[in-house]
């Protein structure tokens, strides 16, 4: 076509100045320096525009090219050589010969101060408190919202972005997320976050639809993951998704670690465990069982086999000793050993009277399993009160329902032994003193309060250690507790290419912490394989979140938390075998799953209780990104003094 051509003045950054150029009126050009870079700019531009055009980002909250600048946000302050005070970049035109610094310590401090001030006015969470509290960092509000829309497969897929074992954690997680739930401020009870996770996962399994992504194309890298417990399974999952070739080495005959032989099946049915482990293996993860580190191979052997990196997640499976007289007598055993034997299908006769020492998860599992194994008189002996128990409150409640007796504020002094066999325990009354490092009040012995309690078996559940025999390594550094020493910011051990996480690096902790550590380990290894240095690795796995005050909750009508339906206690207890019973305990009766899961109706109602605290703008929010960049936080703001 015979049309005359005028040049297209295409430019997305539209300022009034550009109009002059579009109208064919060029402006004078001047030379400036920004952050040491010599630049040229039209003289009618502001410093902010000139910098933006040069790809230099000056922070600003209120600069939109469509709106006249006002300088209100006070963030675009820059230092101009020769001027005592900083100027606002959005309001100051460039001048020939101008030298500008956009980042100085003074400017950083000013910006941080200003952002702190903003944050005090900004009473909101970027990330819901439940998500911040979750060691795996699951997008909880996200999956609960998907549940309200009946999108259970999508909800499960969302959970699996951070946690590959939703059905398992939906049953056994100690639920750190539910503590800070803002719903408690309205009706006293949190949203049943964990139970909803289980609901979504169970529903997704019913559909048979995939809930995990396809792995990325193979990278050709081989990684050995040592230990197929929560941390190892999680690491294997995320490494496999990244396209790495993963070999999972397990010392026992089946994978699962503490999930399989630590947690009794009335809490976690094997079918759920098998299903989720198989999902992970289906990504192409190779499982090798009966491979015990320190016996069958060592780290050096793995290197020789051509593995590019190693993730150690061997757990902490050895019961701690109580260091009291008589604890080596017959009839005294670590609770973890007892649980493992039962979980492997062995019938363990404990006699009628059993005392379990401890107040944590293992103790709670041990007393309830002891009841199922036929002990009629089971006591949980704990040196603090019920409130301080680290076992979850609902589990302690179930212990009570199943007829377990509590002997609280009691600490064992010695095991009474008769003919080489324990016949009871001498304990001492305690009272609570000042809080200790864990924040719980320290138990202090009451002098002269010793008393005797008879028992056929005593189970010790006072903590677990890492298996020293497995760490028969000459070069691997351990810390003073016998855990593998790692740099927490990178998950690296002292050996190059060897990473560690989970209980073996932190001491015995919860399943969800192990899973979170496994994911972090996976991404640390992935970053390392891609050539990241320590800082790069730390950045890849760091979870950044602003520190905020509690903001209080204002919401919809009050509604009580839905209660998990459980197996009728009568039925449970009647299925418990009597002492002296020979042969395996009936799996369908005594070890049937106690928690029955929500019905859809209950789940949907419960999901509606979620206040969806997270912010829609999170990730796109300028205040958030600048606050993180400048380390601003509400907790630092001093504010005005009263009366001013």
């Amino acid at each position: 076509m015979n049309l005359t051509v005028a040049t297209n003045g295409k430019d997305s950054f539209d300022a009034t100045q550009d109009q002059n150029r579009e109208a064919g009126e060029p402006a004078a050009i001047c030379s400036i320096v920004i952050d040491g870079r010599p630049l040229t700019s039209e003289a009618d531009r502001t410093i902010l525009e000139a910098a933006k055009r040069a790809g230099i980002d000056i922070p600003a909250m209120c600069a939109d090219p469509r709106i006249k600048p006002t300088g209100d946000c006070d963030l675009c302050l820059v230092a101009v050589e020769g001027l005592a005070d900083p100027v606002k970049a959005c309001m100051t035109s460039v001048r020939d010969g101008m030298s500008v610094s956009t980042v100085t310590d003074d400017l950083k401090a000013r910006r941080k101060l200003r952002l702190n001030e903003y944050l005090t006015n900004h009473n909101a969470y970027c990330e819901p408190p439940c998500q911040s509290a979750c060691p795996a960092g699951i997008d909880i509000a996200g999956y609960i919202e998907l549940i309200t829309q009946k999108k259970y497969v999508e909800a499960t897929a969302l959970i699996k972005e951070m946690l590959p074992l939703p059905g398992i954690l939906g049953r056994v997680c100690p639920r750190p997320c539910e503590d800070p739930c803002r719903r408690r401020q309205i009706d006293g009870e949190p949203v049943a976050i964990c139970a909803l996770k289980r609901f979504a996962a169970d529903k997704a399994v019913e559909t048979g639809l995939p809930t995990q992504l396809e792995p990325k194309p193979p990278t050709g890298k081989r990684i050995a993951v040592v230990g197929a417990g929560p941390a190892g399974l999680s690491a294997a999952y995320y490494l496999a998704l990244e396209g790495h070739n993963v070999v999972l080495l397990e010392s026992e005959k089946e994978p699962g670690g503490t999930l399989r032989f630590g947690i009794p099946s009335y809490r976690l049915p094997n079918s759920v465990l098998d299903q989720e482990i198989n999902d992970i293996l289906s990504l192409g993860v190779e499982l090798r069982v009966n491979q015990r580190m320190g016996t069958d191979y060592q780290i050096e052997t793995l290197r020789e086999q051509g593995f590019d990196a190693v993730f150690l997640s061997i757990g902490a499976m050895i019961g701690k000793a109580a260091r009291i007289c008589g604890e080596n007598a017959q009839g005294v055993m670590p609770a973890v050993e007892f649980l493992a034997r039962v979980n492997w299908g062995e019938r363990v006769d404990l006699g009628k009277r059993v005392i379990v020492v401890g107040g944590g998860f293992t103790a709670a599992d041990a007393v309830r399993t002891a009841r199922r194994e036929g002990a009629s008189d089971v006591t949980m002996m704990y040196r603090r009160t019920r409130e301080e128990m680290s076992a979850a409150a609902h589990e302690v409640h179930e212990c009570e329902v199943e007829g377990v007796r509590f002997d609280l504020l009691a600490a064992p002094v010695s095991v009474t032994v008769h003919k080489g066999r324990a016949i009871g325990i001498i304990a001492q009354r305690m009272e609570l003193g000042e809080p200790d490092a864990s924040g719980r009040r320290r138990p202090v012995p009451v002098p002269g309060s010793e008393y005797f309690t008879p028992a056929d078996t005593i189970l010790m559940a006072i903590g677990q250690d890492v298996d020293g025999a497995a760490l028969n390594e000459s070069h691997l550094s351990l810390n003073r507790w016998g855990h593998i020493a790692i740099d927490e910011s990178t998950m690296m051990t002292n050996l190059p290419g060897v990473f560690a996480g989970g209980d073996c690096a932190t001491g015995a902790a919860t399943v969800v912490e192990g899973v979170g550590a496994g994911r972090q380990g996976a991404y640390a290894i992935h970053a390392w394989l891609n050539g990241a240095d320590e800082r790069g690795i730390a950045n890849a796995i760091r979870k950044r979140k602003p520190q905020f005050f509690d903001i209080g909750a204002s919401a919809k009508s009050a509604a009580k938390m839905a209660h998990m339906p459980v197996l009728d206690p009568e039925k449970r207890v009647s299925a418990f075998r009597n002492s002296g019973h020979v042969g395996p305990v009936d799996n369908d009766g005594a070890f049937a799953e106690v928690e029955l899961g929500f019905t859809e109706e209950v789940a949907l109602q419960e999901a509606e209780r979620c206040l969806l605290c997270r912010c829609q703008a999170s990730g796109a929010c300028k205040l958030q990104s600048l606050s993180l960049e400048y380390g601003a936080s509400t907790t630092e703001y001093k504010g005005m003094e009263a009366g001013k």
Partner: protein
């Protein structure tokens, strides 16, 4: 903060400002940056926000409901909020914004062609952001673009082909693609064998992409073997296209959005820009409020732009030519004509000049009712401006003398020399996303792609060579003629892509009659529209968010659409269906992507020669774009006009009272039809958007208070609008927006369609129907 402000804040936290169901302002997150207040004031120029005594944004109404203000829910404030205090309530996403998938594409509504970002997760579009990549909208959006995309996932979307296996009385049943395509192809071929190729026809859509339109017209010409193809530009701007072709040699708008921002005077004629092209309107405001541009509005209705105008002329409907000639007369007599431009760049000046003599301000006032001094003010503003811009809409074209009106506009531009320079020119504002492209692709008045002439032997040879078949030789028929042909029985089979004549064409009773008389009607659409419901075969198609391709906007800007999500069910992109059908009918069309189709277009259409998909991402390119290094063309006619002599031509046009459909005692009111801000076309998309339909759930007829009194009507009560063609029942809105003696009713509402009332009379040169003038009366319903 002291205790009092604490308490005040606590109270505020409980009461966010709400614009249901679009957005809300949550004070807990507000950091008082005032971006929302300022963009509303400085870009949208609406009285919505103010600032309260503790420095927070508040509403001018003093309430917490945006509906109590002038807010029209454009959501620009939501877009600038740096903290998420302004929350998009239509956001259907579950994930935080940072983890969603973003796709930059082009809005599928009006012809402004705003670049948008679709946020998607799990295969669904969950939110829309403006994109700053295009000069067309520079980051601005209106309510439809930002909040009106939920039609994409509406449950009524067609997901599977439908077919009537046993004739017209059998039900539409789901079927496979294989059967649907084979059935349609066999039946088209049967009709063709029995009645000849010219018994077949196609109507295409200005909402489909360039690629869709190109393959569609290729199918009609090569597989059908006829020139019986038209599209809905016929119903809107064909009068402008014909007029501009005659006056300056090309039908295209000459200027661009950047030129609108640069202009120092606007004549806005018959265009309710603020409602129908909101983002273009904000650019007019930018020119006015940032650079002091003057605005002249010529419109019988008191549209929103009137509130921003320096001069408002309110002519009687149908007197456009008199008023425009009057302006020219004043310019000439005041010595403001651009003599240098006229002598160097135009022809036919003397004759034109002579013809203007009689259009004295006194005569114009007599004919149109426009006061003489206002006419003079308006003429002086435009003629004296450094950079004058003409914007017009359906108020010019949808008359029996639509072409004359558009010619009179072109004359003004030539008279003042306001063309071919930055910030000057004319833009007939296109109503739909791809009106310009649909015209470019399959022409008008029997043109081949790129306005190649179907009668020119060289052009015919070029396309016969490219497409491998002889070009058909039949006379062109317009949409309205094709529909008439169906009634007469000349047209036996019709293929309609993305068009809903059962809502958009005039005189619906007749249209329905015609479509029902067809042996075969094949429709492809997003929804089972009124037209699709009459079809024998219905193909489900992908929406604009579900396919790649290009739209050409009202500034000739060819911009890239990118697929954000998969189409629902078995729905497919228009071009894929067209190619399948063509193959099944015996004419091979094989493209592996829309980019391949565009490459073929580029090889045949010189003004698109540089338009390859990979070049069109960031802001697109404006045609003519003559080769793959060409930067595109922001404004046309800098040096010459594309006419044989290189000069533009003045046209002698006279005010004619066509007499047709004039009011009389029985039908004393003039019915004017048009659009609303919240809805689009026949409402197939916007009526299925929860928010938009919430804003405007039903059509209301605007009635002047005097007429309301005369007919005994009350605001909010029902009335019957009756014309010679039919009647509908609608709610009455008593308002002085419409002049006495005239009523206005929008055409978006299928349950009470405006085009039951309109007549099929059209402008003879362009065949654009006279939707703006139908004699009517009102009856109260008790």
């Amino acid at each position: 903060m002291n205790e009092i402000t604490q308490d005040f804040r606590a109270e505020q936290e409980l009461k966010p400002l709400v614009s249901w169901p679009f957005f809300q302002l949550d004070y807990a997150k507000c950091i008082k940056c005032m971006q929302c207040v300022r963009i509303c004031d400085e870009v949208q120029h609406r009285a919505v926000y103010t600032v309260d005594d503790v420095g927070y944004p508040a509403l001018v109404s003093g309430t917490s409901d945006f509906r109590d203000t002038q807010c029209n829910n454009c959501g620009q404030c939501v877009g600038v909020c740096p903290t998420g205090a302004l929350k998009d309530l239509t956001d259907r996403g579950s994930q935080p914004k940072s983890s969603r998938h973003n796709t930059t594409t082009i809005c599928g509504y009006c012809g402004v062609g705003c670049a948008i970002e679709l946020e998607s997760e799990n295969g669904r579009v969950v939110a829309v952001n403006p994109s700053h990549t295009s000069d067309a909208n520079i980051g601005n959006l209106c309510v439809k673009g930002r909040f009106g995309m939920d039609f994409i996932h509406h449950p009524e979307r067609l997901t599977i082909p439908l077919i009537r296996r046993n004739g017209k009385d059998s039900p539409l049943e789901p079927t496979s693609w294989e059967e649907a395509i084979a059935f349609a192809a066999r039946r088209f071929n049967e009709v063709k064998a029995k009645h000849g190729p010219h018994a077949l026809a196609g109507i295409t859509s200005a909402r489909a992409t360039n690629e869709d339109n190109y393959v569609f017209q290729k199918l009609i010409r090569c597989a059908f073997g006829t020139n019986n193809i038209d599209h809905c530009a016929r119903l809107c701007h064909m009068a402008s296209a014909v007029a501009l072709k005659n006056a300056v040699g090309s039908s295209a708008p000459s200027a661009s959005a950047p030129d609108v921002r640069l202009a120092t005077a606007f004549l806005v004629v018959g265009s309710n820009t603020t409602e129908t092209h909101p983002v273009m309107s904000s650019q007019v405001f930018k020119a006015k409020y940032e650079s002091g541009a003057k605005i002249v509005v010529i419109d019988p209705r008191r549209i929103e732009m009137v509130d921003h105008a320096d001069v408002w002329l309110r002519p009687k409907s149908g007197t456009n030519v008199a008023v425009l000639n009057g302006l020219a007369h004043v310019i000439l007599k005041s010595g403001l004509a651009n003599e240098a431009f006229i002598s160097a760049r135009t022809e036919n000046w003397e004759a034109y000049k002579t013809n203007l003599e009689k259009y004295t301000p006194a005569y114009v006032e007599e004919v149109s009712g426009v006061p003489q001094d206002r006419l003079i003010d308006a003429a002086v503003i435009y003629a004296k401006a450094d950079r004058g811009m003409l914007l017009w809409g359906m108020g010019i074209t949808q008359h029996l003398t639509g072409v004359d009106g558009a010619l009179a506009m072109a004359n003004l531009s030539l008279l003042t020399g306001h063309v071919g320079k930055p910030g000057t020119g004319f833009i007939p504002l296109r109503g739909q996303s791809n009106v310009q492209g649909a015209s470019d692709m399959q022409g008008q008045h029997n043109a081949l792609p790129g306005y190649h002439s179907i009668t020119d032997p060289q052009d015919r040879a070029k396309f016969e060579k490219a497409w491998g078949v002889p070009m058909p030789e039949d006379q062109f028929l317009s949409v309205v003629q094709l529909e008439e042909g169906a009634i007469r029985g000349d047209i036996k089979a019709m293929y309609i892509m993305g068009e809903n004549p059962m809502g958009s064409s005039p005189d619906l009773a007749e249209v329905e009659h015609g479509l029902k008389a067809l042996d075969l009607l094949v429709v492809q659409d997003l929804f089972l529209s009124e037209t699709a419901a009459l079809a024998d075969v219905v193909f489900p198609v992908a929406s604009f968010a579900e396919k790649d391709g290009t739209f050409t906007n009202t500034e000739r800007r060819v911009q890239l659409l990118r697929k954000a999500v998969e189409p629902p069910g078995e729905a497919r992109a228009d071009w894929e269906i067209v190619c399948e059908l063509s193959k099944a009918m015996g004419y091979e069309m094989n493209y592996d992507s829309p980019a391949a189709i565009m490459a073929e277009i580029a090889s045949l259409v010189p003004s698109y020669a540089g338009m390859l998909h990979e070049r069109l991402g960031e802001g697109g390119l404006q045609w003519p774009c003559l080769d793959i290094s060409h930067p595109g063309t922001r404004f046309l006619y800098a040096e010459s006009f594309p006419t044989p002599t290189g000069k533009a031509s003045f046209s002698m046009v006279d005010q004619i009272d066509s007499g047709a459909d004039a009011t009389d005692d029985k039908y004393p009111l003039n019915l004017n039809t048009g659009r609303l801000l919240e809805h689009y076309h026949t409402g197939t998309m916007t009526r299925r958007s929860r928010g938009l339909d919430h804003m405007r759930p039903e059509g209301e007829v605007d009635v002047h208070p005097e007429d309301a009194r005369r007919f005994g009507l009350e605001d909010g009560r029902m009335a019957r609008i009756i014309t010679k063609r039919g009647s509908i029942e609608v709610k009455v809105k008593v308002t002085d927006r419409t002049p006495e003696g005239a009523i206005f009713y929008p055409f978006h509402f299928g349950e009470a369609p405006a085009n039951r009332l309109t007549g099929a009379k059209y402008d003879q040169a362009s065949h654009t129907p006279a939707y703006k003038r139908t004699a009517a009366r009102l009856e109260r319903i008790d």
